[in-house]
Symmetry: D2
Subunit: 192 residues, 4 copies
């Protein structure tokens, strides 16, 4: 049997797009799993074939920037567009996970993950957490540690506000994103 994971993301300046690619890479690296990546803009048209891709997926991983303390407006536009499927509980029992990027180390990114997890809960989906111990939390730690930002509900990344996506998110944050993608794909196989 084969499994499919979809990564749905919004990216304002390209940083979160890189994080999304890293998540996809992780998901796609798992035997028997294929991963597709969908920018939210593709879903603004309710006739887009990408909706069917989502409907057929075993797992949906959702990511966007944290803007002004919560998920970006474009991501929320996708969430609202999914309300017809919510009414039918069409996505119930799929797996879900989340990721977010912002300029600051914390930047209220937890709110974004809580909102994405709540969205998944409304859809009756099962939430896959990051499952990585916090890094960079001891005298021997460094910003190159996996999960250096100490997230738990999903993957967090930080990108400098004065630099383009070729400079950020940091390598550690991209590796963390890849680990999340891999975990979701493996969980999809186990969940069946």
């Amino acid at each position: 049997m084969s499994y499919t994971v979809c990564v749905v993301y919004h990216s304002g300046y390209g940083h979160t797009a890189r994080q999304a690619e890293a998540v996809s890479e992780g998901a796609g690296s798992v035997d028997g799993v294929t991963c597709s990546t969908i920018p939210v803009e593709d879903l603004f048209d309710s006739e887009s074939a990408s909706w069917a891709t989502l409907d057929g997926a075993n797992a949906i991983i959702i990511g966007c920037p944290t803007y002004m303390g919560s998920p970006s407006s474009a991501m929320k536009q996708f969430m609202e567009a999914s309300s017809g499927r919510w009414m039918e509980q069409k996505w119930a029992d799929k797996l879900a996970a989340g990721f977010t990027n912002s300029g600051s180390q914390n930047g209220d990114k937890q709110n974004t993950l809580v909102d994405i997890a709540t969205f998944a809960a409304q859809h009756g989906m099962v939430w896959i957490n990051l499952n990585l111990m916090p890094g960079n939390n001891s005298s021997g730690g460094s910003i190159e540690d996996l999960n250096r930002l100490g997230a738990s509900l999903g993957a967090m990344a930080q990108s400098n506000v004065d630099q383009g996506p070729e400079h950020g998110p940091t390598d550690a944050d991209l590796k963390t994103a890849t680990a999340l993608g891999k975990r979701v794909a493996e969980s999809a196989k186990r969940w069946g």
Copy 2:
């Protein structure tokens, strides 16, 4: 001296607009306070005069529906459009408060209030809470009690999903909204 309160709101179907009117009524009922009400759509144009109204206000009260577990996309669009003012911390030390409406009793409305409060925090604003004890929480309670939904960070309202804004939010929820508006206006005078 005179004080000004602005109510910035988004409403998808008119229910939250009624809640916004109730908030405005409360704010405007306080001597020496004038209140203006701005739909977020007016702020999508960065040249709109409504931005100057916000810049001049002593307090900004922000409200929107809770859609799919968090603030509506249109409200987030306004929040993102305010990022230039955030960079300058132009609104620091203004007062802020929040309200939200949704179809269900709870409907994850707390997430919306947390996100609005966090937005206000990023702007360096001071957060005015609802300051009403929970109603409808004892054997003698009823759905006509003030703050019958038991909110604390702001005002919550519930409107039936199969009825238009002429039927909802309930009277109790509108009175709760009015109490929040009044409290913010009085706080603006005290804060000076």
Copy 3:
């Protein structure tokens, strides 16, 4: 193969204990699943055999009152006592779910569910949501609807503050709790 679900709960006055029983009843009703119920006080002794029960469980469902806007102190005492297991990630990949009761309709119960879900995330557990559409949200709705409080991350219950546990939580809230227990048990079988 047989599966085990543990319900860990704190109850100050007996209302949440009734909710915990309802959750247990739901979990235990599923073929091939046995359910045990552990009051948090049993876990205050690190030598208690109940810790081994938790270690051996396929799923852990956690519930407590919402006191002053977040999980009760006693529940937090258990969470902190689990930190040794967290260090070893001994509970990673178990399933988890949550429930909470308070006197008011909302009462900031969402915070409690977010905190329990975050706790589960730190342990690397997989989060099972309530998966029930909101009830009591239309003109034909009533407080006897399943999920009448409109929760999504877990099960919520409301009990009048002037009445003992023989009067609350309401029947609808107890049935909602039972549905959560059943869902977690079925998910444990599917997760394997």
Copy 4:
């Protein structure tokens, strides 16, 4: 006229105690403001004179470690002990603010600030935010920047898990705490 600020804190290993001292130092540095610092343990006895100190304060600043994703059990014990005052809304219209420390950079500290802010909201208090732009978010940034963790609802600090309080929180985090204390004291004077 003179104003009083109380810092109520819990500290498990001394790191948060240092953060509390820094907050106090900031509050006490403001002309006309006196600041007292109360460990939560002093408030476990309902006859303690510290309760009267709180009752008389213009502002209460609350801080604790983030343990397993939310406020520490000891802090929650204090919150629950304040429920008699909540019933009377005895602290309504006081100012409130919050801070938290944990081992990891993020460590779900946002949950703790949300819970403290919600607690203050239940008491009808007015919430004073951190009001510092995020630091360490550009190519020229460093971990010595004020608000290097990018918090907004309150002050965050990070302390290495393998080092005692003589090594952490970092200087930047302590300065951030001091800035919060100062802001609350100044706000107390303005609020009157």
